[in-house]
């Protein structure tokens, strides 16, 4: 499966981002310039129109266009535009020379106001900006006086003209075209250069990841649980990843160590009964023997095979630790009665090791919510540990109490050596001491199983040091109604 590439993704995203930004900037710039140029164009058309509107004069009973007599300082402005007058009274048309006989479109703004619009030049079809307006001839005071004397007073509004002034926008379009090309090519080349710079930047930014990947790869071939040799200039963005990775590797190392412990302990636990089995068969085969001797040796082999089966069962149980336990069937149990049952089983072991038992149990029933079978497993394990690990001739204390909805069973015994971190006692296969305190198959899984089943019942199992070098396990279960 093709994997998503961070490099490609970064380049694509940066490219699209920068590209869109550049396009927006270029487009904005283009329209800003275009708007400015058109504004300038319109301004010049308005100026020309204003000039031309002032050059219509009524004199001696006729309309005179001053520009036809010489435009003076305005010549340059008027030469750059085309214009046309329509006499609204007589229908007479006056054109700028450049128009020759062609007509500009005749138009006005609303309410006889001005209007600027886009038109096509009649001669060459070029686009142009044009302004249409109504103008009234100017009548000199002397001419007015003459008309008053003659009694033929004319209102200038009665001899109105429509003036349309147009200016070719081809130069503006040429400028805009050049600007479009400059902005387009500028954007393209900027993106192209940006791509290479981005590629370089992304590659150099991703280099620590590659180095890290190399370290990790190199480590996979290393059987030791060493920490990573991190590059000194590791970016801060990767520090968290590396720390989490280290933490993960640490957990993996712990699991591997536990697996090694498991294999070592399992091998060790299996070796001794196998040695007994091998020794018994060696003995049987070392010389011809009587039937009764063979029978005894076969019986020993059978007993050892049963021990091995039990051991394998424990190892299998160990492999199940950590998996979700089946839901416990909770019911009301009298823990004092259950404890008596369990103690009966351990009574010979207590007597053999001269262990004294001190029970502090209330007279009333101690009822808790739990699964009888699971509770029995926990109590048996705790008593088994006490019977095995308490020094000969010492006292084992059992206390039971109910308060605040909790029923607690505390079993404590004297212990000469226990680990600094007592919680380790609940770790699978953990055995603190080098020697075995009893000859049974203490594999270091009893407390782990007990913790698992206690939790399955919604209870708690804790361990703590108490006075006089005693170690105390406390089983806590929800109290049940009497």
């Amino acid at each position: 499966m093709k994997r998503r590439s961070i490099r490609r993704s970064l380049l694509m995203r940066c490219g699209i981002g920068v590209g869109v930004l550049m396009c927006l900037l270029a487009t904005g710039t283009y329209f800003q310039v275009r708007s400015g140029l058109y504004e300038e164009m319109d301004q010049s058309v308005r100026q020309a129109a204003a000039l031309l509107s002032n050059q219509v004069e009524y004199e001696d009973g006729k309309i005179i266009f001053e520009w036809q007599e010489g435009t003076g300082e305005s010549g340059h402005l008027l030469s750059s535009v085309m214009f046309q007058y329509w006499n609204e009274t007589t229908g007479e048309i006056t054109r700028s020379p450049a128009l020759k006989s062609a007509d500009l479109p005749r138009f006005l703004g609303r309410n006889d106001g001005q209007q600027i619009r886009e038109i096509r030049m009649p001669a060459d079809g070029h686009q142009a900006r044009a302004i249409g307006m109504r103008v009234y001839p100017f009548i000199l005071p002397e001419e007015m006086e003459k008309m008053r004397i003659s009694g033929n007073l004319i209102n200038p509004r009665e001899i109105s003209h429509i003036l349309v002034v147009a200016r070719d926008t081809t130069p503006v379009h040429q400028v805009l075209s050049r600007i479009r090309w400059i902005l387009g090519s500028g954007t393209f080349f900027t993106l192209l250069i940006g791509y290479f710079l981005g590629e370089w930047a992304v590659r150099s930014s991703l280099r620590p990841i590659h180095e890290l990947a190399h370290q990790v790869h190199a480590r996979t071939g290393n059987p030791d649980d060493q920490t990573l040799k991190l590059p000194g200039d590791l970016p801060s963005e990767l520090t968290g990843l590396v720390e989490n990775f280290e933490a993960l590797l640490g957990r993996v190392a712990v699991i591997r160590e536990r697996e090694r412990d498991f294999i070592r302990h399992a091998a060790h636990e299996l070796r001794t009964p196998i040695a007994g089995l091998l020794a018994t068969t060696d003995l049987a085969l070392s010389k011809p023997r009587g039937a009764s001797e063979y029978a005894a040796q076969l019986e020993t082999c059978g007993k050892t095979a049963h021990e091995l089966t039990e051991l394998v069962k424990r190892l299998t149980a160990l492999s199940r630790i950590g998996k979700s336990a089946p839901p416990a069937k909770l019911e009301s149990i009298d823990l004092a009665v259950l404890m008596d049952d369990c103690l009966e089983r351990f009574s010979p072991a207590f007597q053999h090791r001269e262990l004294r038992l001190l029970r502090v149990i209330p007279a009333s029933p101690i009822r808790a919510l739990g699964d009888p079978a699971l509770c029995r497993i926990v109590l048996n394990n705790l008593l088994d540990n006490a019977a095995s690990y308490a020094p000969v001739g010492t006292e084992i204390q059992i206390r039971m109490e109910s308060s605040n909805g909790q029923t607690k069973v505390a079993i404590s015994n004297f212990s000469e050596d226990f680990p600094a971190n007592l919680e380790r006692l609940f770790e699978p296969l953990f055995r603190h001491d080098a020697s075995r305190h009893d000859s049974g198959t203490h594999l270091g899984i009893g407390l782990t199983l007990s913790l698992d089943v206690t939790r399955a019942m919604g209870g708690s199992l804790t361990v703590s040091r108490v006075a006089d070098k005693r170690i105390e396990f406390v089983l806590g279960l929800p109290s049940a109604a009497a």
């Binding site: 040695a275 007994g276 003995l283 080098a434 075995r436």
Partner: protein, 225 residues
């Protein structure tokens, strides 16, 4: 030759003990560390087979305590711990040999014999004095070409004396190393069995090799001088 097996696994302990007894060795057993240490300290064993993981007292502690008291007994460690560090620790702490479980009884016996030879500075697996030969592996005794049939106790007695050739061996030593506690004999039994042995070894008029040192004990040697 008296051995002590300190091993908590009863199956292995019993099988090993029986096998070694059938090889004409005197074998005592202990199931716990403290019991084993007491036995080792109280009795002059030739070899101790010592498990490391024991109830009450660790095998390594037993080893160190015996060596701290300058106990010269040869110690063969038998352990399920097969790590190099375990073997090095045991050997460096004074063990003479190390055997990893599971093992064949024959190998355990061979190693015990090697330690016994080392105890008495012998290298030849067949023990010889003049024309007397004792083959511990095949359990055969010869005088020149003549095969000599011995009882188990006579065999053990001869083997012990051959191991201590040219040395003066007291009756007490012989009693401790050759006779089982359950044999029910007295110290006179040593003289009786020495007499039986002499008779069998010199049945065809061969030279006497077992010489009496009055008030002291016996010496097995080629020439009485």
């Amino acid at each position: 030759m008296r051995l002590l097996i300190i091993e908590d696994n009863s199956t292995l302990r019993n099988a090993l003990a029986q096998f070694l007894r059938e090889a004409e060795l005197i074998v005592d057993t202990a199931a716990t560390g403290d019991e084993g240490l007491w036995a080792a300290a109280e009795n002059p064993y030739d070899v101790i087979l010592l498990d490391l993981m024991l109830p009450n007292l660790d095998g390594m502690d037993i080893l160190r305590q015996l060596r701290a008291k300058a106990n010269p007994v040869h110690i063969l460690v038998i352990s399920a711990r097969d790590g190099l560090e375990d073997r090095l620790e045991a050997l460096d702490s004074g063990a003479d040999d190390y055997l990893v479980k599971p093992f064949h009884l024959a190998e355990a016996l061979a190693r015990v014999r090697a330690l016994l030879r080392r105890s008495y500075a012998k290298k030849d697996p067949v023990l010889r004095v003049a024309d007397l030969q004792l083959d511990p592996i095949r359990r055969l005794v010869r005088r020149a070409d003549r095969e000599i049939a011995l009882t188990a106790l006579e065999y053990r007695l001869l083997e012990y004396l051959i191991h201590r050739t040219d040395e003066m061996v007291s009756r007490a030593d012989i009693w401790e190393h050759v006779f089982e506690d359950s044999s029910g004999g007295t110290s006179n039994s040593v003289d009786v069995y020495i007499g039986y042995l002499r008779k069998k070894l010199c049945a065809q008029g061969e030279t006497n090799l077992i010489h009496t040192r009055r008030g002291l004990g016996y010496t097995l040697k080629e020439d009485e001088s």
